[in-house]
C-alpha cells in the first residue's frame, strides 16, 4: 500500500460542466500519473508530474489539465466534460529502481466518472 487515495470514487456529471479529480499520496513520491482505462484501450496516460509545478502531457491529454502545487496532491481537471470522457481514472505514483531502468507504479483505487 503506497498510501494513495482518490476522490471522489464515483461521480456523475453533465456534459459541459467542469470536473476535478484529486489524487493524494502520503509518502512524498516525486512522480505521479493520471491514467484513464477504457474497454479495448487498456491504460492510457493522460498527464504526469515529476515534481511540484512540473508536469507533462501523456498520450491522451486533450481536454484535460493538471496541477501539482504540493508534493502530495495531483489534480486532474476536465475543463468542460464530454461523454467521451466517461471512464475509470487511475492515479499512480512511481518508484524508480535499478538506476532508472525499472519503474514500479502503485495505483490508487480509481474514480469512476460518468458524463451524461
Amino acid at each position: 500500500d503506497a498510501g494513495i487515495t482518490q476522490s471522489p470514487r464515483h461521480k456523475v456529471t453533465e456534459t459541459g460542466t467542469p470536473v476535478t479529480l484529486r489524487c493524494h499520496q502520503t509518502e512524498n513520491h516525486r512522480y505521479m500519473y493520471w491514467y484513464r482505462q477504457d474497454p479495448g484501450h487498456g491504460l492510457r496516460l493522460i498527464h504526469y508530474s515529476y515534481g511540484v509545478k512540473d508536469t507533462d502531457k501523456g498520450e491522451v491529454s486533450d481536454g484535460y489539465s493538471v496541477s501539482r502545487s504540493k508534493t502530495e496532491d495531483f489534480l486532474l481537471t476536465l475543463e468542460s466534460a464530454t461523454s467521451s470522457q466517461t471512464s475509470v481514472y487511475f492515479c499512480a505514483i512511481s518508484v524508480l529502481g535499478s538506476g532508472g531502468a525499472s519503474d514500479t507504479q502503485y495505483f490508487g483505487p480509481g474514480t469512476r466518472l460518468t458524463v451524461l
Binding site: G42, L43, Q105, G110
Partner: protein
C-alpha cells in the same frame, strides 16, 4: 511510439489447466513488468524483469523476458479461480513513462 501487444485478449479456461499469455513489441525495453488487476481495483505489480532471458517464478506463475528484451511471457501452471483478472504488461525505456499493453482478461472457471 512504443507499443506493447498482448495476446490473447481474452482467455477462459477450466481450473487446473495451464496457460501462457504474451506481450510483444518491436521496441527494446530496459525492463518489463506484469501487473494484475481485479474488478474495482487498481493494477498491482506482480514482477519486474530487467535482464534479457531472465526467468522469474512467483509460486505457480513463471515470467520470462525475451533475449532481445522486446517481449515477455507469463505462464500459469494449474490455474485457480483466484487467478482470474486482467493481466497487464508494461515496458520501460529510457526516461519515458511506462507503456502499458491493453491486457489479457483471464477467467478461470471452477
Amino acid at each position: 511510439t512504443q507499443l506493447l501487444e498482448q495476446s490473447p485478449q481474452f482467455l477462459s479456461i477450466q481450473e487446473g489447466e495451464n496457460l501462457t499469455v504474451y506481450c510483444n513489441s518491436s521496441s527494446v525495453f530496459s525492463s518489463l513488468q506484469w501487473y494484475r488487476q481485479e474488478p474495482g481495483e487498481g493494477p498491482v505489480l506482480l514482477v519486474t524483469v530487467v535482464t534479457g532471458g531472465e526467468v522469474k517464478k512467483l509460486k505457480r506463475l513463471t515470467f520470462q523476458f525475451g533475449d532481445a528484451r522486446k517481449d515477455s511471457s507469463l505462464h500459469i501452471t494449474a490455474a485457480q479461480t483466484g487467478d482470474t483478472g486482467l493481466y497487464l504488461c508494461a515496458g520501460k525505456s529510457g526516461n519515458t513513462p511506462l507503456v502499458f499493453g491493453k491486457g489479457t482478461r483471464l477467467s478461470v472457471i471452477a
